[in-house]
Amino acid sequence: MQTKEQITLNKFSLQFILFALVALIIGNLFGILAGFQYIIPDFLKDLLPFTKIRPFHDSTVISWIILAATGSIYYAISNLEGLTIYSTKLTKLHFYLFLIIGVIIYISIGSGYMGGREYVAFIPILIVPILLGWALFGVNYFKTVLKQVKNWPVYYWMWGTGIVFMIFHLAEAHFWFSPYFRENFVRDLTVQWKSYGSFVGSWNQLVYGLSIYIMAKIKNDDNVGRGKLAFFFYFLGLSNLMFGWAHHTYIIPMQAWIRYAAYGISMTEWIILGYMIYDWRKSLSIEKKESNSLAYKFLIATDFWVFINLLLALLISIPIINFFSHGTHITVAHSMGTTIGINTMILFASLFYIASRIDNTIDIKQTKLIKAFYLFNGSLAVFFGALIAAGLKRSEWMYFSKNVPFGEMKISLANNYFVFLSSGIVMFIGILLLSIPLFKTFLKSYIKTVMST
């Protein structure tokens, strides 16, 4: 029997998840429209120029990650773990604040009244209520778990870390308000990209924490989140969040020791990669009872994408490789690969796990869902490959074909852009086929929860 607080929290968790799924679909749609402008430059140019489509796309897909992770965490701590939330009022305030901010961001981008920077293009002052929303989440989270959970498993540490560092790095992305940063272009650009690298690291703490939580639940083994190894990887990830961001800024003329530190820290991720290969080999012979679950299938896919993206991240952290890959589509492959291949894959695992607890027919027996799973992963592989190929061509143009004009190089990339767009469209279909059944399940549960109150 659930308490009134738990029912209210369920309602808001589901609201976060429902809006997250809507953001995923709309964000992808903007991505496709942006892709068309790479092939047909005049496409929707007057109605929705690239200067608006890209901020729409960035803001909406980031919202998908944040809302899905937040909804899943609220749902996990209250519904699955049975904890009593510190304050349902704070959750309500958190949700409505983010909803209002979302509407204002859309108005800001749609009207062209922005003034922010990459990934945070909206009216800069909006960062104040955004930080307030994260602070509300933080207070609610820590007040809930500090009181009721002893000897925290690693995922509680990760969620807490993610919230705290998200607040710091989102604020850091706006240090340019101060003339001390803004007047010095080298400092300003370095700190801007430091914050981007680290706030992605911060939401990764939320999302990776969810993946460990689901693994522990599927295996019904609490040790998954409590072992020394889990904590070792947590601290390694945290060190990378704090000090390993500089591979985006190697080329900025800052002091060499920042590059040395980032290079050294990034290379520790070889340990993760090495362990993954070892663990994968070890688990090959083990028959998995859990393989019937769609959540498990998404976690296995995540393993593959973590391997691919970690390898790419490690390679582009080596200065001599970074020198040639920086400023090319290889960087886009790195960011798309991690946000789609890792973040979205884990969030689908999380949502399918929660959905299967609501409706046990959402499982691997639904062949449509399995087809959609393969469509999504297959098209992502082609999409990723097209970006790497485009990046290699652009790098070749930058360093070895100095007399070829930019426009000519762009025309030579037309085939890559075509493959990139086509695979993006197929990926969108896959995402739709996965998201719609999830949306219906969560909506039914939401209506049921509302009716019961």
């Binding site: 140019k45 003034g115 007047e183 700190v191 060190s239 800052m254 060499a256 001599i320 400023g327």
Partner: protein
């Protein structure tokens, strides 16, 4: 057993504290001597140009130091490029191209935008064609204007 749990709890707190302390010190140096300017600070005019750069979302298509969108070219060194320069930039802003919209900047605004791009140009090179690629995988960047950085052995 209880002692082990207690030890684990303390161990986690100690590691977190050490990491956070190091992070604070590290940030202090990143925000100060680690990012000393390699060009002159942005003037009031260049700062207005930077505001225009942000308000018109130039970064969605263009890059500075390879950071930004890929629909248009990198503009780090466009003002010092002998084949391009100020008039070329003004011409582009006035007319637009296929995927680039026409902007209605006043002459003053165009000057401000150019002041910003000039300030950026003075800080360094991208691509850094004269960088020294070393066999151990390190890259010694080619710096502009900053003798103290040039003297450092591994820059």
């Amino acid at each position: 057993m209880k002692l082990t749990k207690l030890e684990n709890k303390h161990r986690n707190r100690v590691i977190i504290s050490v990491l956070v302390f190091t992070f604070i010190i590290y940030n202090y140096f990143v925000y100060s001597i680690g990012t000393e300017n390699t060009g002159p600070n942005l003037s009031a005019k260049a700062l207005k140009g930077q505001t225009l750069w942000q308000e018109n979302n130039c970064w969605t298509c263009h890059q500075l130091y390879g950071l930004g969108g890929y629909l248009g070219p990198d503009l780090t060194n466009i003002t010092s490029n002998p084949l391009k320069g100020e008039n070329y930039i003004k011409g582009f802003i006035n007319s637009g191209v296929k995927s680039m919209p026409k902007y209605n900047f006043s002459e003053t605004e165009k000057e401000e935008l150019i002041a910003f791009l000039k300030a950026v140009d003075q800080t360094g090179y991208f691509p850094s064609y004269n960088a020294d690629l070393q066999p151990n995988g390190w890259v010694q960047l080619d710096y502009k204007n900053n003798d103290s950085l040039k003297k450092l052995p591994n820059n």
